[in-house]
């Protein structure tokens, strides 16, 4: 474990700090609340000569990802950041970046998609892009946002992977929330991320290659299959990088983290910062003798269904908390619920816990311990009586 210093940083500044230490070759970014601090802070680093990075202040998010694709194809290590409608605007380029197997690392500060316009946290933005072929990793707090950014570079650039990574943190809650963050030494980060050696480069003048060729129905399918193949290798890479990072920093990372889950009868499954609130509730209820546990997924895409089923199969009832609605899905549920149900169907041998979904926090609606407690009470009711009163419920919604 190396020497680290403690700084008071919000999630955005923590990511900017990680970016400074990684020192990517190119950053092309466009401002959007609540990501702006990342780009502003990084710009100041550039202006102060603290990073040897070509910073492109593009004129839109679509241009940001377009430039990232050009730069990454040219063999540069590329990073960017966005949120909400900015992510939505670059939708076509997300698919292109993943399909062209470019290891771009993008920080997404989760914010609600319009309409109505809302600058606060929910997961509708990155969830809307869950089919694009990117790797999705979620952070609970600024420390994780910092740690994930550094690991993301290694995961993306791994020769078995070569896929872009979206590294999420909750808008405002984590992005603007100042917390205690342990920062590694610059040298340690540089050594950890190492040098990027592109597989193919646009700047290879002597052996020119064609990038982004179009493919007829006689070839397209095969390239998509290759992407699934690469994604199948991601969980192992995430675990390996997480362990290596742990050896370096003392903070070990895996596909998910579990709290009081081993003997739990009911479990909460929730992403990102709300896991922190849920943990407080679990601790309180445990003191009252209630066997409740918490599972916080970290890797969301590819979805580590097998591992989650392993960790949760003994539980009687699972309450999934979704911070976005996958509109039109059964009963108005959210994406995490869909993924988890599909996982149990696939890996559960026809047996498994009851799973219910709780939509919460949309547009930054606050989620408080009492609401999670009431949810656990309902999970316990289901465990006791087998009665599911409502498959999809809402926390904090005014009826």
């Amino acid at each position: 474990m190396v020497k680290q210093i403690v700084k008071a940083l919000d999630g955005a500044k923590a990511v900017a700090e990680a970016m400074r230490q990684i020192e990517p070759d190119v950053v092309a970014a466009y401002p959007i609340t609540p990501q702006t601090e990342i780009v502003q802070t990084f710009s100041q680093f550039v202006a102060d000569g603290l990073v040897n990075t070509e910073f492109i202040p593009v004129e839109s998010e679509h241009a940001a990802m377009s430039a990232c694709i050009g730069a990454s194809a040219a063999g540069a290590r590329v990073m960017t950041a966005t949120a909400a409608n900015g992510l939505a605007l670059m939708w076509e380029t997300l698919y292109i970046a993943a399909s062209m197997r470019l290891p771009i690392v993008m920080s997404v500060v989760n914010r609600a998609l319009s309409a109505p316009l809302n600058i606060h946290c929910d997961h509708s933005d990155s969830m809307g892009a869950r089919d694009a072929g990117w790797i999705h990793i979620f952070a609970e707090n600024p420390q994780e946002a910092y740690d994930n950014t550094i690991q993301a570079v290694r995961i993306a650039e791994h020769p078995d992977v070569l896929l872009p990574v979206m590294s999420m943190q909750d808008g405002f809650i984590t992005g603007h929330g100042v917390e205690r963050v342990e920062i590694l030494e610059d040298k340690a980060v540089k050594e950890f991320v190492g040098e990027y050696k592109p597989l193919y480069s646009l700047l290879d003048i002597d052996q020119p290659k064609t990038f982004g060729a179009w493919a007829f129905y006689d070839y397209y399918f095969e390239f998509k299959r290759q992407q699934t193949d690469a994604l199948s290798r991601v969980p192992q890479v995430v675990k390996e990088v997480g362990k290596e990072f742990g050896d370096l920093s003392g903070r070990y990372y895996d596909l998910f983290s579990a709290y009081e889950l081993d003997d739990a009868e009911v479990a909460i499954v929730v992403l990102a910062s709300t896991a922190g609130t849920a943990r407080v509730v679990v601790r309180k209820l445990r003191r009252e003798g209630i066997k409740v546990g918490l599972l916080k997924p970290r890797l969301y895409r590819p979805f580590p269904g097998k591992e989650l089923v392993e960790a949760l199969r003994h539980v009687k009832v699972i309450g999934v908390m979704d911070r976005s609605i996958a509109f039109g899905s059964i009963e108005g549920c959210g994406p995490l619920f869909l993924d988890l149900c599909a996982s149990f169907y696939t890996y559960g041998n026809g047996k498994g816990p009851q799973i219910v979904d709780y939509i919460f926090g949309l547009g930054g609606r606050d989620i408080i311990p009492e609401q999670i407690e009431s949810m656990v009470k309902e999970l316990l009711h289901i465990a006791e009586t087998g009665e599911v009163r409502q498959r999809v419920s809402y926390l904090g919604l005014r009826e």
Binding site: A28, H62, A63, A67, C68, A74, P208, A213, W214
Partner: protein, 313 residues
């Protein structure tokens, strides 16, 4: 700026072609002619970004590629930005000593659809930021690859499938967008208009553009015999006549100074050019004939304005 203006075709023909045959461009397509003229005119190592369109589709059908230079296609509107990203990467990697500086030039090819319409923001942004890219617009005056739909480059009176000539409407109503002027208004160091019929002028312009320390833009008239409806053999003749009628003037704007490169000895009437192309055939009906006069008037007006701008009056 000082570039080699001597062009010896035999010398150029002795060098290996950077653009391979076997591409799927239509017989007689000006884009093939233009790309060859451009790549044969320069010796610098190039990296090319191309927007979705005829050229991109015809030259990159997996697993074939007609490109013997590094080449990338990203999406329809973002070729300029893709090149800008590659250019930035080049600067960064050279500065960090990760790759040698081989004086690589970044070229962008985009059709009129990509340039005048869907990609205008992306080009404007790249130009404003001052990237060292050369943007070549291959203007065939419509969305040709998808079957001849109108773009803002389509001339007034032209028939396209989305601005069709019918019983009551004589083809496209609006005048074409003055894109070369718009690019010049960005105050980039080099802007020009060219035609493959005047290959010497085109090649010198490409050399100047590539030598520019900053963004450069060349708008090249790219005849499409399919969409413009004429025989495959007359591509260059139609292009030449476009210049001779002052429909497509050859000029350049170097560091804000406008210069006319070619003044036809005898300015031909636009009717001669319209007559050569099936896309204007309906204009010769009595009910639409007045449009030809209107088009001529507008061409004359723009020509006079250009002459003044270039200090030719």
């Amino acid at each position: 700026m000082a570039v080699e203006t001597k062009i010896n075709l035999k010398e150029l023909a002795s060098k290996p072609e950077k653009f391979a045959p076997g591409h799927r461009l239509c017989a007689g397509c000006a884009e093939g002619i233009i790309v060859r003229q451009i790549l044969n005119a320069i010796d610098d190592p190039v990296v090319i970004a191309t927007a979705t369109g005829c050229l991109e589709i015809a030259t990159s059908m997996y697993p074939n590629t007609s490109w013997r230079v590094p080449w990338i296609h990203n999406a329809f509107e973002n070729a300029a930005t893709t090149a800008a990203g590659a250019e930035a990467a080049y600067k960064a990697l050279v500065r960090k000593g990760k790759i040698p500086d081989r004086n690589v030039k970044f070229l962008v090819f985009g059709g009129d659809g990509a340039t005048y319409d869907i990609g205008l923001q992306w080009i404007s942004g790249a130009f404003e930021r001052g990237h060292r890219i050369v943007y070549i617009c291959l203007n065939n005056e419509a969305y040709m690859n998808t079957g001849i739909q109108r773009s803002s480059a389509t001339p007034t009176g032209a028939h396209t499938t989305t601005s069709p000539a019918g019983e009551v409407v004589p083809g496209k109503i609006q005048w074409r967008k003055p894109i070369t002027e718009i690019m010049a208004a960005h105050n980039i160091p080099y802007v020009a208009q060219a035609s493959p019929s005047h290959w010497r002028d085109l090649m010198i312009k490409v050399r100047k553009a590539v030598a520019t320390d900053g963004p450069a833009f060349i708008n090249i008239l790219s005849d499409c015999n399919r969409g413009w409806r004429h025989d495959t053999a007359t591509t260059i003749e139609v292009s030449r006549l476009a210049v001779e009628t002052c429909y497509w003037p050859l000029f350049e704007v170097e560091n804000g100074v406008w210069k006319l490169n070619y003044k036809p000895r005898e300015k031909k009437p636009i009717e001669e050019w319209l007559k050569m192309q099936g896309r204007f055939r309906h204009l010769f009906q009595p009910k639409f004939r007045h449009l030809i006069d209107e088009i001529q008037a507008r061409i004359d007006q723009e020509w006079e304005k250009l002459l003044e701008r270039c200090g030719e009056k």
